[in-house]
C-alpha cells in the first residue's frame, strides 16, 4: 500500500517536528549542567538544569515512528521504549504537555511525576517505560482486550534490537502467535545497545527471522526509509486489524546522538554518526516529495518553520509552567 502525497507530507512534517524537538533538547538539556554552574570538578551534572536525569533522544529514528503511526488512530495502543519522544509525537501526544512533563512541571502529562521515560497519555493510548523489553507484554494485553471486546483496535509495541534479547520478547511473541492477537512488534535496529553492537548481543543478524519461532510473519525493513516502513507497517497493521494476527518487523535505523546525552561514545567508531547523517531520511523524503511535485521551496520553508515554531512553543509552554507542589509527591500511589 503506497502512501498518498498527503500522508507523505504529514510524515515529512512530523519527522521535522521530531528532529527539531530532539535537537532542541540537546541544548536545553545542557542548561545549568556545565561548569562553572555545577559542583567543582564536574564536567557535567546530570542532576542539574531544567531537565535532570537521563535523556535518550531519537534523532535519526524518526522514520520508524512516522511510518508506523501513519496507520494508527487514537484507539490503537502504542507502547514505546526508554527512547520515546518520536513515538509520542507521531502518535499525537500533545507536544506542549509532553514537554512540560519532561521539564517536571505542573502542566505535564502527569504533572511531572513520570518524566522523559514515563510518558502516559491515555487519550492517545500512549505509554512507555525505562525497562528494556517491557513494552511487549502490555501491548499483548491491549491486543487481547481488543479481541475480547470485539473491537478492531490494534496494539503496537516498539523495542530496540538490544531489548530483543530480553525474555519478555519470547514470552510476548509466543502469546501473540498462540492467541493470534492484533499486535505488531516493531524492532528498531539502530545497531547499538548503549555501547554494545548488535553482532555482540544477538546470535542472528535479523530479529525478524525470529518471527518464525512464533508462527508469525517477520519482515526486514532496509535502511531507515519512512516509505518502506509505511508499507511494511501498513500491511502488518491492516492484517492485525482484520483478524490476521501478529507480525514482527525489524527496521534498520540510525542513532545520530549518544545513547543518552552526555555519552562520550568512546565505544563508537569516529565519524560513524556523521556518515549516517549523510543518509538522513528527512532531506531524502523532501526530495521524493519534490519529485512528486507536492513540495516546493516555499512549502518546505513553511513546513520547516511550522515545525520549528511548534517545538519552540511547546518548550516555552514547559518553561512557563510552574513546578508542582512538593506534597503532590504523596498522592496517586493508588487511583
Amino acid at each position: 500500500m503506497d502512501p498518498s502525497s498527503d500522508q507523505l507530507l504529514s510524515m515529512y512534517e512530523t519527522m521535522m517536528v521530531i528532529r527539531n524537538f530532539e535537537e532542541s533538547m540537546v541544548a536545553i538539556y545542557l542548561e545549568e549542567k556545565l561548569p562553572p554552574d555545577v559542583q567543582a570538578g564536574l564536567a557535567f551534572d546530570i542532576a542539574a538544569g531544567p531537565v535532570p536525569g537521563e535523556m535518550h533522544l531519537a534523532a535519526g529514528q524518526e522514520a520508524v515512528a512516522v511510518g508506523v503511526c501513519a496507520h494508527l488512530g487514537d484507539d490503537d495502543t502504542l507502547v514505546g521504549t526508554h527512547r520515546p519522544h518520536h513515538f509520542a509525537i507521531a502518535k499525537g501526544v500533545p507536544l506542549d504537555r509532553m514537554a512540560a512533563e519532561i521539564f517536571g512541571r505542573a502542566d505535564g502529562l502527569s504533572r511531572g511525576k513520570g518524566g522523559h521515560m514515563h510518558l502516559f497519555d491515555p487519550a492517545h493510548k500512549f505509554s512507555c517505560s525505562g525497562i528494556e523489553g517491557a513494552s511487549m507484554p502490555p501491548a499483548v494485553g491491549a491486543a487481547l482486550a481488543a479481541k475480547k471486546l470485539g473491537k478492531d483496535w490494534v496494539a503496537v509495541a516498539f523495542l530496540g534490537e538490544g531489548a530483543a534479547n530480553q525474555g519478555t520478547f519470547h514470552e510476548s511473541m509466543n502469546l501473540a502467535g498462540l492467541w493470534q492477537l492484533p499486535v505488531v512488534f516493531i524492532c528498531e535496529d539502530n545497531h547499538w545497545a548503549i555501547s554494545v553492537p548488535k553482532e555482540r548481543s544477538t546470535a542472528v543478524s535479523s530479529n525478524a527471522s525470529r518471527a518464525s519461532a512464533y508462527g508469525m510473519p517477520g519482515v526486514d525493513v532496509g535502511h531507515n526509509d519512512p516509505v518502506e516502513v509505511f508499507e511494511a507497517a501498513g500491511e502488518a497493521i491492516g492484517r492485525a486489524r482484520s483478524g490476521g494476527g501478529p507480525t514482527l518487523i525489524e527496521v534498520k535505523t540510525d542513532r545520530y546522538l549518544g545513547h543518552f546525552q552526555g555519552d562520550a561514545e568512546v565505544y563508537r567508531p569516529k565519524g560513524e554518526a556523521d556518515a549516517l547523517r549523510e543518509h538522513d531520511p528527512i532531506p531524502h523524503l523532501a526530495g521524493q516529495l519534490r519529485e512528486r511535485g507536492v513540495l516546493d521551496e516555499e512549502l518546505q520553508k513553511e513546513l520547516e518553520e511550522r515545525a520549528r515554531a511548534r517545538v519552540e512553543e511547546a518548550y516555552e509552554f514547559a518553561r512557563n509552567s510552574p513546578y508542582p507542589d512538593a506534597d503532590e509527591a504523596l498522592t496517586h500511589v493508588f487511583a
Binding site: T77, F120, P122, P137, V140, A145, F334
Partner: protein, 343 residues
C-alpha cells in the same frame, strides 16, 4: 436455593472460587488468566468449576510465561478490562517481578492517577507440607515493601470471599495471597478453623481493618494467614495456663491497620508477632516499628518477641521444616515467655 441470608460452611478454596464466579457474573470485564486454571480448576482449586460456567474466553489457561501474561493482564486493564491473573506459587515471583512492581504497581503513580489498573493477582503461599525451598515461601513482606500494590492475606473462608470481592472491585492492583494450608483442599491437611460459614450472596470487607480474633488482656499476638489459625489454638492453650492472649489478624498488609495493633498493645503491654515469612527486614520488623514509633504512649512490660522463619530457606526434611516454620507450640512457649519475662 441460596437466599440473601443463607449460610453455608465453605472451605477457603470454595469461598475464593465463589467470589470470582459471582464477580464474573456481575461484571463482564472480569476474566481470569493463569496456568492450569481451566480444566484443572487451579492447582489449589481457586477457579474450580469456572471453566464450565464461563468458557475458555474468560477462564484462560496460559503458557508458562508469567512475565508475559501478567504484563498482558496489565495491558488488558489499561484497555478497560478487569483481569485476575494467577501466579501459581508466590515463589515464582522472580520470573515476573519487573512487570508487577515496576509497571503494574507504578504506572498509576507515574501517570498521576490517569491510568487505572484494576488487576488482581492471586497466588498461593506457605509451607508445612514438605514442598521445600522453592514452593513453600510466604513473601508477603516482599510485596508490601514495594509501593503501589495492595497486599491481602486472608486467614479464613469468610474473610477470603469478602476481601477478594473487594479486591476485584478495587481500581488498583491487588495481590491476594492464599495459604495452601487453610484452603481446605481434599489432598492437604489443613487447619479447620479456616473453614467457616460464608453467606451465599456478595459482600465486601474493606482493606486496612485488622480483626480481633480473640480478646485478651495479658498479651497481644499479631499475626495473619494460616498463622492466625495456629495462634487461636495457641491462645486456648495459653488460657489454660492462665494467660489471656489477644489475637489480631492483620488481614491486609497494604494498607496496614497500625491503630488496632497499637490499641491492643496499649492494653496488654506485651507483643508477640507470629509470622511465616522470613524474619529479618519484613513484617515482624514493621510491626515493631509501629510500636517503637509510639514508645512514649505504649510502655512495654516485656521485650517484643518475634516468631518467623529464621532467615533460612525452607528445608525439605520434615523435622527441619517443622523447626523453621513457627508451630502452635512455639507460639505457646513464646507467649508464656513474654508474659513471664514481664514478671
Amino acid at each position: 436455593m441460596s437466599t440473601a441470608t443463607e449460610q453455608r460452611t465453605l472451605t477457603m478454596a470454595k469461598a475464593i472460587s465463589e467470589a470470582i464466579g459471582s464477580e464474573m457474573e456481575r461484571d463482564e470485564r472480569v476474566f481470569v488468566m493463569g496456568e492450569d486454571i481451566g480444566s484443572y480448576g487451579g492447582i489449589f482449586s481457586a477457579t474450580q468449576g469456572l471453566l464450565d460456567r464461563f468458557g475458555r474466553e474468560r477462564i484462560m489457561d496460559t503458557p508458562i510465561s508469567e512475565a508475559g501474561f501478567i504484563g498482558a493482564a496489565m495491558g488488558a486493564a489499561t484497555a478497560g478490562l478487569r483481569p485476575i491473573a494467577e501466579l501459581m506459587f508466590v515463589d515464582f515471583f522472580g520470573v515476573c517481578m519487573d512487570q508487577i512492581y515496576n509497571h503494574l504497581a507504578k504506572n498509576t503513580y507515574m501517570s498521576n492517577g490517569n491510568v487505572k489498573l484494576p488487576v488482581v493477582l492471586t497466588t498461593a503461599i506457605g509451607g508445612g507440607y514438605g514442598d521445600a525451598a522453592q514452593h513453600s515461601q510466604c513473601l508477603y513482606a516482599t510485596f508490601a515493601h514495594l509501593p503501589g500494590i495492595k497486599v491481602v492475606v486472608p486467614s479464613n473462608a469468610y474473610d477470603a470471599k469478602g476481601l477478594l470481592i473487594e479486591a476485584i472491585r478495587d481500581d488498583n492492583p491487588v495481590i491476594f495471597m492464599y495459604h495452601k494450608g487453610i484452603m481446605g483442599l481434599p489432598w492437604m491437611s489443613y487447619f479447620e478453623g479456616a473453614t467457616t460459614e460464608v453467606p451465599a450472596d456478595e459482600y465486601t470487607i474493606p482493606f486496612g481493618q485488622a480483626r480481633i480474633v480473640r480478646e485478651g488482656a495479658d498479651l497481644t499476638i499479631v499475626t495473619l494467614s494460616q498463622m492466625v489459625q495456629k495462634a487461636k489454638i495457641a491462645a486456648e492453650q495459653l488460657a489454660e495456663r492462665g494467660i489471656d492472649a489477644e489475637v489480631i489478624d492483620l488481614r491486609t498488609l497494604v494498607p496496614l491497620d497500625r491503630e488496632t495493633v497499637a490499641a491492643s498493645v496499649a492494653k496488654t503491654g506485651r507483643l508477640l508477632i507470629a509470622d511465616e515469612d522470613y524474619l529479618s527486614f519484613g513484617l515482624s520488623g514493621e510491626i515493631c516499628a509501629t510500636i517503637a514509633e509510639r514508645s512514649d504512649t505504649l510502655p512495654l512490660k516485656a521485650p517484643v518477641r518475634r516468631l518467623a522463619v529464621p532467615d533460612v530457606p525452607i528445608p525439605y526434611s520434615r523435622p527441619l521444616e517443622h523447626r523453621v516454620i513457627p508451630q502452635v507450640d512455639d507460639i505457646v512457649a513464646a507467649g508464656a515467655e513474654v508474659v513471664g519475662a514481664g514478671g
